[in-house]
Amino acid sequence: MTPAEIRDAVLDILDTINPDEDLSSLDDEKEFRDQLDMDSMDFLDIVMELRKRYRVQVPEEDYDNLVSMNKTVAYLEPKMKDISA
């Protein structure tokens, strides 16, 4: 997957977790927490959806990497580059 495809994949996950949220104005630089109404349970769901959909494992000590879209994509790139979109 390319970084753009990974971004789409993450967007799709956010949409599944939080169907009422308007994601079109998401700022990739800013932390999710400051833009989306997400709690700790929702964050855990990002990790679990990644595992469910792409078999990507995110260990607990790495959760901090998933704070914003840009950081998430950067973190996932090496893990997902060999997955076909």
Binding site: T16, P19, M41, M48, R51, E60
Partner: protein, 463 residues
Amino acid sequence: MYDSIIIGAGMSGLAAGIRSAYYDQKVCILERHNTIGGLNSFYRLRGRNYDVGLHAVTNFTPRGTRRGPFARLLRQLRLTWDEFGLSPQLMSSISFPNVELAFDNNIDLLRSEVARAFPNQIDNFEKLMDSLIDYDDLEQSHFEMSTRERLSEVITDPLLIEMILCPVMWYGNPREHDMDYGQFCIMFRALFLEGLARPFDGVRLILRKLVRKFRELGGELKLRTGVQQIKIDNGRAVGVILDCGDEMSAKNILSSVGAVETFRLCDDDDTTHVHKTGQLSFIEAISTLDTYPSELGHDKTIIFFNDSDKFHWQRPLEDLCDVRTGVICTPNNYCYDTADGKLPDGIMRITALADFNRWKNLNKDDYGRQKKIWFNKVVDSATQFAPDYREHTIDTDMFTPQTIHRFTSHDNGAVYGATRKWFDGTTNFKNLFLCGTDQGFVGIVGSIISGISMANHHLLRGN
């Protein structure tokens, strides 16, 4: 070999099952009874539908709300707001002999009622609301503070304290006399800052949604399949032995049957002795009417009543029941969608405190006789606070602590479980966990949240 076995198909077990199955676990829910729902089930009698629990779904927030337990529950179970089909209450009240406080799903009504009935307490009441602990900030340390002490620091009129405690204890206090302050904050929010609602079709609608979702995700549900023992090997739970003698094994076991009840299944005498189950159980007297309660001038959804200035929250000491305080619930009095129309009958449900042991020790004839006697007594007491509907009665039913025990296996028929809670859901055994009533959250929304969070923490993490 299952990834997870869940014991009990009540609200918490079903919710935990959905989470596990959604994340592709091989999961099986085992339920002893012949139907789902546990403490909040439903049945049919003489051609009519009845709910066991469900007076009101607490924690109700309007469509589009993002915060709070109800919104969280919908997101976590991937359900839409419409799927729960909730209609808000009309108006409810806390009714004491000479004073009544009305409330609805907008806190401003309760505010103005307190200002009207207790003008010199309204600032204190505001202070109390400002200092409620938020759900996410609850920690065991201040959770167990005394609510009575805390309230008397803020509110100086003892009558107002009793009036606040009455509904909050009725809808979720497992302890006698006093309440953990953390639990108080949860229930105060659930009742007054969020609100009350009901699906037109009753609790069966919610349960069917949950079961369908679970099955669609590949989960297995086995009814009439009780667990008689949890097999322990070297400090680990390795599987369960069913009532029929068959065995099943799993990597993790999550039990919603109560803490002491679960420890007993493990032969963990050690723990069963130390911890006691709760003592508080209920009777409920249900009357079907030939008219709608509103025709009799009754338009409240719920009335929490108490017949003196002091509210007594305890197991009845001298008798089978204590009818000085109770809850009057009228399922007709919700703002149902016009498309739904009206419920087929008028219904009045009265709940009062009852003593499990006294009910259990009655022989069959006495049991029937006492049910009639107490049905009348509880309705007598309730009709001090609501119009007398007795001459309109066309059918009745009543359940007792014995009924609750028979259908849910909860010790003492204790509706809100043990007096202490196991917030992290862990037990003496590495891969055996608790969810539901004894994990900490009660009520329909509370127990669903419990099932979700315990599945997240213990069944899904790292697997």
